[in-house]
């Protein structure tokens, strides 16, 4: 029993380490979402009324929407190189269950997009004059929310990996499923700014992450088997 669990965790860890190494060698791809986040937040006050009061009122929603769009940006590449060089077939042939491999890949993906996005969000929030109460709620909700969005987005990436122009379909697939995360996440920051407790929204996001962790790896593995084997 314990032997088996060490084997599975080591398989997961191997994939995470491999993907982190691959991503590190292509650093510019990782910086892409972060730059996108920075640029859109910079452009926003130039397009609308830049007074602190107005910016502060739209900041919770805007920070969340831009983070969501930034995660969409790099989603297409998640399984692309593995599909093209045949690693995806090898993952399926290996003795390790495919959902563990998938979980490892999604973990590495989140560590390189969701985590940095959440970490730089307070800086961007101060540029958008987010009122004082919202910073912790913003970071915590983004940490949980980007994890859910990585899992959902990986399903879309898995379903569209075999398509030439999968980008548009990927957006259409993923957007409706992101919506509850966006609403709850933005609500979380909004209620923190208004001075209420935001634990309810955080608990909802945590529950969503728990469900996504159970359901999505299996669904992603199924989708990969379909799209890689044709």
């Amino acid at each position: 029993m314990s032997e088996q669990s060490t084997v599975t965790t080591s398989a997961w860890r191997t994939i995470v380490a491999r993907d982190l190494k691959l991503i590190w060698r292509q650093r510019t791809d990782v910086v892409n979402p972060l730059v996108f986040y920075l640029i859109t937040i910079t452009l926003l006050p130039l397009g609308v009324d830049p007074s602190r009061q107005f910016l502060g009122s739209i900041a919770p929603g805007m920070l969340w929407i831009m983070a969501l769009l930034a995660t969409l940006l790099s989603l297409d590449t998640l399984f692309r190189s593995d599909y093209e060089d045949g690693s995806l077939i090898q993952f399926q042939l290996s003795a390790e269950p495919l959902f563990l491999t998938v979980l490892g890949k999604v973990t590495a993906y989140w560590l390189t997009t969701g985590l940095p996005l959440s970490l730089i969000s307070p800086v961007l929030a101060s540029m958008l004059a987010l009122p004082d109460g919202g910073y912790i709620a913003l970071m915590l909700s983004l940490l949980l929310g980007t994890a859910i969005m990585s899992l959902i987005g990986a399903l879309g990436a898995a379903l569209t990996v075999c398509l030439r122009a999968g980008g548009l379909v990927l957006t259409l697939i993923v957007m409706p499923l992101y919506l509850p995360v966006l609403i709850i996440g933005a609500n979380c920051v909004g209620s923190a700014v208004a001075g209420f407790s935001f634990l309810r929204e955080l608990a909802l996001l945590g529950a969503g992450l728990a469900i996504a962790l159970i359901v999505m790896p299996a669904a992603i593995a199924g989708a990969l088997k379909i799209s890689a084997n044709q």
């Binding site: 379909v169 259409l172 697939i173 499923l177 989708a223």
Partner: protein, 252 residues
């Protein structure tokens, strides 16, 4: 032996021949129900005290909303059956249900905004139910689009089924959203337990309309699925025989 009917469900030919017989009485019945229900609701039901005649659009709007939600479940369940038992027919039903469901969702959105103008004073309000109906439309469209862009038919069916099953997580949220983000939209009028907030003289035509919509939905689903069967099985022997007999009939 008891499972024989279930295996028959996997045969498109069996379905096509069975429904050919059913349609002779089912098609007139559902059209008649729809005509009676809509005429009763739109012409003979009493005028509402607050909303006047504009409330009558509920007889078109509300059954369409019910069916677009129920249709999503039907689509996902058909996809699940197809994935588990590897049958052809459920996948065809799933694809057809996506088209019919998308049309009904669009109808719900259009009639809802037409109803919203005289009562709320706006065509579109960012209300929970509005948003989620729109999202439901996107869910349907994503399944239709995914089914169309895949190069291989079998892979497209399975991919759509997985997406439909994952999307069902959103459908309960659509229902719950009314309680969560209650704003302008009125709460549900028909309650199974307790008294309804709608008068019987308006309720009965509404119930008839819902039944009629269910029949009409089934009818359009069957017709769509039959068309899908013919398109996909075009190279089989029974379809070419069917086409030959049909064309010889029309020549006579």
């Amino acid at each position: 032996m008891a499972w024989q009917w279930f295996h028959k469900l996997g045969s498109p030919r069996w379905f096509y021949e069975k429904t050919s017989r059913w349609l002779t009485w089912f098609a007139p019945l559902s059209v008649a129900l729809l005509l009676v229900g809509l005429t009763w609701g739109l012409a003979f039901a009493p005028v509402d005290a607050k909303q006047g005649n504009s409330y009558r659009i509920i007889y078109i709007h509300m059954p369409a909303a019910v069916l677009s939600l129920a249709g999503y479940y039907l689509m996902a369940i058909a996809g699940g059956i197809g994935l588990i038992w590897k049958m052809k027919l459920p996948f065809m039903v799933m694809q057809s249900a996506a088209y019919v469901g998308a049309a009904l969702t669009a109808l719900t959105l259009i009639t809802g905004s037409l109803w919203g103008y005289p009562t709320w004073g706006t065509f579109w309000e960012w209300d929970a139910r509005n948003i989620f109906m729109l999202i439901l439309l996107f869910l349907y469209l994503s399944i239709i689009m995914l089914g169309r862009v895949y190069p291989v038919r079998e892979a497209a069916d399975k991919a759509c089924a997985i997406l439909a099953l994952v999307g069902t997580v959103n459908v309960p949220i659509i229902y719950k959203s009314v309680d969560w983000w209650y704003s302008l939209h009125q709460p549900a009028s028909i309650k199974l337990t307790g008294s309804s907030s709608i008068h019987p003289s308006m309720l009965y035509p509404l119930l008839l309309c819902i039944v009629a919509y269910y029949c009409f939905y089934t009818l359009s689903l069957i017709l769509y699925t039959r068309q899908e069967i013919l398109a996909r099985e075009a190279r089989t022997k029974w379809v070419s025989e069917l086409v030959n007999t049909q064309s010889s009939h029309t020549k006579d």
